[in-house]
């Protein structure tokens, strides 16, 4: 993983002429190989459809129409992409240190719960801007603590972070269910256990002019900021050195423990933000609808973006589009909903296999 990680975050500033040429070559490589992999995936999926007696042409036409073909489709795609951006960051940032976190969904769920819980006593008394701000702080804070704890266990006790984050996801769900079915259950919503509503006034609303909430632009902004953090700061450099070789990093006196905890806390904060937007922009309360699988789709997005924060938004939009078009494919072609899962899995497999192509083509800057 470390190779991909280091390659994916670009070079330090101040590169010379030859390095610039190399950089352009690599950028072209980073575009060409994934594009090639997408074409191969599409070809394989076409074979799958043909074997089932279905029309690939119709399928891809519907994929286009449902995901990107109309202004409604675009808004549908973008609104589905927003949470994926945050949950992908939850995977991408620890990946810079060589950590694989798969339990971001837990931080999303608890972040959303925290946002609702803090808003409830304030709703109607405090100004909406303050309520929203506190919700944001609570969601990011709880998310950061939840995944930060995974980092702490990893560094402090050597507990495997992949497994720990997965176990903590199951625990997070129990906590959510306990809270919304027990102490904070809204008597007005008995059949779908939820917290009370945070109130219409405290909802964050949409970006003016389009039917997409603020999570999308803020997610993209966060990707840029975290890209800069990981590629242009001492912290990011130290993190990448640690990801490359822990012992070397320790040898150079880098504070590996702090780096691990900081990176996991940032990651958890990102997932917590996804929960914040789910509550503040969509549901208006916390309930089991928070467990929508965004955390797990985010793993996919992050790996496909090769853990590069700048590549996350386009990949998220690709997967948002596939999700958005799924309904149209079901309705027009009579295919089961699992069709889209098969397509996503296939793209994932082929793109990962294409990793092996990097550095093999002279045209992109030669054999490395």
């Amino acid at each position: 993983m470390s190779d991909a990680v280091r390659d994916g975050t670009g070079l330090p500033a101040g590169a010379g002429m030859a390095e610039w040429r190399d950089r352009i070559g690599r950028s072209a490589e980073y575009l060409a190989i994934p594009l090639f992999a997408l074409i191969v995936s599409a070809a394989l999926f076409s074979l799958f459809l043909l074997a089932l007696g279905q029309s690939p042409g119709q399928f891809f036409q519907l994929l286009w129409v449902g995901g990107y073909g109309t202004s409604f489709s675009w808004q549908n795609t973008l609104v589905r992409s927003a949470p994926l951006i945050f949950t992908a960051l939850c995977v991408a940032i620890p990946a810079q240190l060589g950590l694989v976190i798969i339990g971001g969904e837990g931080a999303l769920v608890l972040g959303g719960l925290a946002a609702a819980v803090i808003a409830l006593p304030l709703a109607g008394t405090a100004p909406p801007a303050i309520v929203l701000f506190l919700m944001l702080v609570a969601a990011v804070g709880v998310g950061a603590v939840w995944i930060g704890l995974v980092g702490l266990l990893r560094y402090g006790r050597g507990v495997n972070e992949t497994i720990a984050s997965l176990l903590m996801f199951y625990i997070a769900i129990s906590i959510l269910n306990f809270v919304v079915e027990g102490p904070l259950r809204d008597p007005a919503s008995p059949n779908k256990p939820s917290t009370a509503s945070i109130g219409e006034a405290n909802m964050i609303g949409n970006v003016p002019g389009i039917d997409v909430h603020w999570g999308l632009p803020i997610g993209i902004l966060l990707c840029v900021l975290l890209y800069l953090l990981m590629s242009r700061t001492t912290f990011g450099f130290a993190a990448r050195v640690t990801g490359g070789n822990v012992r070397a990093a320790q040898g150079q006196g880098l504070p590996v423990g702090k780096l691990v905890v900081a990176a996991t806390a940032i990651a958890g904060g990102c997932a917590g933000l996804a929960g914040f937007f789910e509550v503040a922009a969509i549901h208006g309360k916390a309930n089991a609808s928070l467990i929508a699988g965004y955390g797990f789709s985010g793993i996919l997005v992050s790996f496909l973006a090769r853990h590069n924060p700048l590549a996350i938004p386009p990949v998220a939009i690709l997967f948002g589009g596939i999700a958005a078009a799924g309904g149209l494919v079901q309705r027009r072609m009579g295919l089961p909903d699992a069709t889209m899962v098969v397509l996503q899995g296939l793209i994932f497999v082929v793109l990962l296999a294409s990793e092996t192509l990097y550095g093999r083509f002279r045209i992109f800057g030669g054999k490395r």
Binding site: L52, G53, Q54, S55, Q58, Q61, V65, G66, G69, T70, F72, S73, N76, V79, R80, E105, F169, Y170, I173, N177, E181, G182, S189, P190, N191, K192, P193, E278, I282, H283, G284, N287, A288, S289, L290, I291, A292, G293, G295, F296, S297, A323, A324, G327, L328, Q330, R331, R332, M333, G334, L335, P336, D337, V341
Partner: protein, 399 residues
Amino acid sequence: MHDDTSRPGAAGRRTFLPKLGGSGSLGGAGGFSLDRRTLLKGAAAGALVAGAGLSGIRPARASGLTIGIVYVGPRDDYGWNQAHAVAAAALKQVPGVTVIEEENVPETIAVSKSMESMIELDGANLIFATSFGYYDPYMLEMAKKFPDVQFRHAAGLWTDAAPKNAGSYFCYLDQAHYVDGIAAGLASKAGKLGFVAAKPIPTVLLNINSFTLGAKSVNPDAKVQVVFTGEWSMPVREAEATNALIDAGAEVITCHVDSPKVVIETAERRGVMTCGHNASQADLAPKGFLTGAEYKWLTIYKEFADILTTGGTLPNFVRGGYDKDYVQNTAYGAASTDLIRAACEQAKAELRAGKVIYQGPMKDNTGKEVIPAGTEHDAYDVWLEQTSFLVDGVVGSTS
């Protein structure tokens, strides 16, 4: 990813409602029948043959009506969604009506977008939202956004304050559970009954209570032990719960979970009697089956289809129980004696005539009076929809 986590699946997007369906249970009345083989064939054909007539970007809009139906789970889930899908198939028989369907749509913004997509891209002008969590805020927002489109939701949530182009349709399944309770109470010797339930929410509690009241009406000492699994679909835990209840002495098992198949089969293997839920599970338990509580959506969908073909407008609020033929009990299984059958038939007749199950004085299982003497709550009383207690005779707690 696997079903429990990545796909919102088990926890997130399940309806609170039971799911119904099952082989052939809804056949007959509408001239539409589904059995295992036709389903298999249909599914295979669906997977193998393209919907050739529906290609193209703009669908050929039917002259009048395009109906969009959204399901929370797979359409062939042996449960709730399948029952809707089967009943909806009756709508497809109506000339000039196009039915478009989408399955596995979670109770998130995805359902808003699915409805919107059906309207924007397929020209739907009537939407059936068949999962409880679709209503607020998703369906309500869509109803406000598209005032010319009709929206109907499968639960009793619509009020006058909601948009007039929205509405609800629902059936009182607890009446059929009451009949189940009578069968179970008569069948058991020691009066020990077991109930595997998903979550302690009003609809589930109401079914447990009606089942218990039915049992106590024929066996005043009957006790119903409840195990909540905490999830709508968690097959291994449902099997464990069934085994635990039987180990604790339960003689009859019934349930309120997404797919009762696992519970019924597990109990049958242990030689314990069962009552079904949502659909006919009679063939799953050839020895121990008594009867079961089933929805009868077909009645409502037929009514809607008739209204639509005659150019009328759909009512905003449709609900009922045995009185309107919206629920039914499964044909008696091998474990039902003549005595049981006679008692059940009598109860059904009384329910059709408007018998009120919830009559005071009534106590909950903590000894608190919940209905004072002289008060009664009939099936249409919204008081029942707020049920948060377990009646005397239930062993278990709502928290």
